[in-house]
Amino acid sequence: MNPVSFLAQMVRIAIPYLFAATGGVVAERSGIISLELEGLMLVGAFSATIGTHYSGSPWIGVLCGILGGLIFGLVHALATIRYRADQVVVGIAINLLAIGVTRFFLKLAFASSSNSPRINGFGGRAAAHGFDNPLLWMGLLAAPVLAFFLYRTPFGLRVRAVGEHPGAAASVGVSVNKIRYIAVAVSGMLAALGGVFLALDQHQFTDQMTSGRGFIAVAAVIFGRWDPVKAGLACLFFAAAETLQIQLQGNHVIPSQFIEMIPYALTIIALAGLVGRAVAPAALGKAVE
């Protein structure tokens, strides 16, 4: 096993998780449960494909992907903040909606319910191992940058405050719902970038191409105890397990079922408190008046 190709592959696999998990952390730290990461990624992947296809520029695709994520993030925010709908139910509904919407427009735009035509992407030199893709670097930086914002800026303090004790935050004049709107919108854009990376790396959108990556990101958020850096490390860890399985090349040393189980099993272990306490933001899931 070549260490360079191992590390490169691990990073490439981790990028979609990293984007989605940091998105999940922002929203959940503000008190909004984020089960919709999978749907946001799918929308991001599709919007990026549309944008790149019609403009020819992957950068326009990135912008379109972010816009798609923003729109779906705002739908989530509207339903959970304005209308105080159950956050878990809305999250699941958005995942289902994303599958239907992307397929509908895929058919409308390209007359196929399976995949889009080939689009441009970034990089493409075999020797670069994928590191000639600017999105890859953005993905690696997402978690540390978010950590800086959350812990070192006044806005980050407000996000954490409305997630822990919205009443106290409101009493000192912080607009709880405004902060939450912003956090969920940012979460939508970040998670969408995970999908954008997938679509541009694949030079194509295929129906439901995120295949469960959003749920692995949700697992990483919980396993990382709602901390951006720890969640990022969890993403790298899950990606490393997957890479190990790929690189062991059909030797069946580790059954693939086992690898696929890891993120979810660890999430249960983390929630059960077996590796220290996993404390969610106190106001997570609670809407405010």
Binding site: Q9, R84, A85, L97, S112, S114, A126, Q204, T206, M209
Partner: protein, 345 residues
Amino acid sequence: MRKLLLVALTLLVVHAALLFAGGRGVAQSSKAGATNVGIVLDVGGRGDKSFNDGAYAGADSAARILGPNIRFIEPGEGSDREAGLRLLAAEKMNLVVGVGFIFSDDITKLANEYPRTSFACVDYALSVDDKGNVLPPPPNVAALKFREEEGSFLVGALAALVGKSKKVGFVGGMDIQLIHKFEAGYRAGVKQVCPDCEVIAQYAGVTPDAFKNPGKGKELALSQYQSGVNVIFHASGSTGLGVFEAARLMNKLAIGVDADQYDEAPGHILTSMVKGVNNTVYDVIQRVQTGTFKGGIYSFGLKEGGVGYVYDNRNKALIPDSVRARVEQLRQDIIAGRIKVPSTR
């Protein structure tokens, strides 16, 4: 609470509407007295340039030549599949076709509920009882099966002869018996022409998601190419599009599946192991139309022209004449029964 219900309900309705929207069949005008055929497509749907498009093409030419009314349904998630079949059966279609192994259990169940309707299932998976005996399909079900291992054997030989390295690759979708057939035939084909070659076989996952995960397909293929593999055969639905993407990036070769996939990565597709889904679907519609439909197991292999590999003007340059001759000889050997191709690993 009321608001919550309203939001959830609205989203659900929109979701369902979008799933079924736009699914216009080829023959919308229903002609009185004509045969009615309903077809439920598998994961992937139309435009997959593979399996479903094959079924669609077969039904389309049947509609034009034989004139039955045909209705297509493209289900979204798992539960929609049974609903789609049930809808068609309840509408008293003469023939209901499920395209894909995933319909096997639902078709078996519905066939017992609607004994007067004819059913056909492409890639029908025979079920097994507690004692391990194979259960035949119900009498009104035509189980259309392909001997994919025979076609895979030929492309395996091709991969080993053209690849010029001691390693050849295989990427499967979901880790199940149906895909193991491809792997087993492929392995045997490789070993036939190159006994000391190593076959690296990997699967994208253990759920149906593994058939639509191009990201995983690309990473699997990249690691195989980096370890010295020159040709990879995929049997993994749209996951295979990732394999082709890796072939482009590494400037290596890949082998398509089900239909001619040359256009997905021109110059990098050595050949494709094709399944004649279109002909079998056409055939079963014709049988229903002429009243000669009979349930049972239908098996299509090299001999029946049900499987094969692509060799045409576009990929000719990639396959030397001597290799072509060798593979054609193997085809004759299999048809004549001189070579037995295994169907299990």
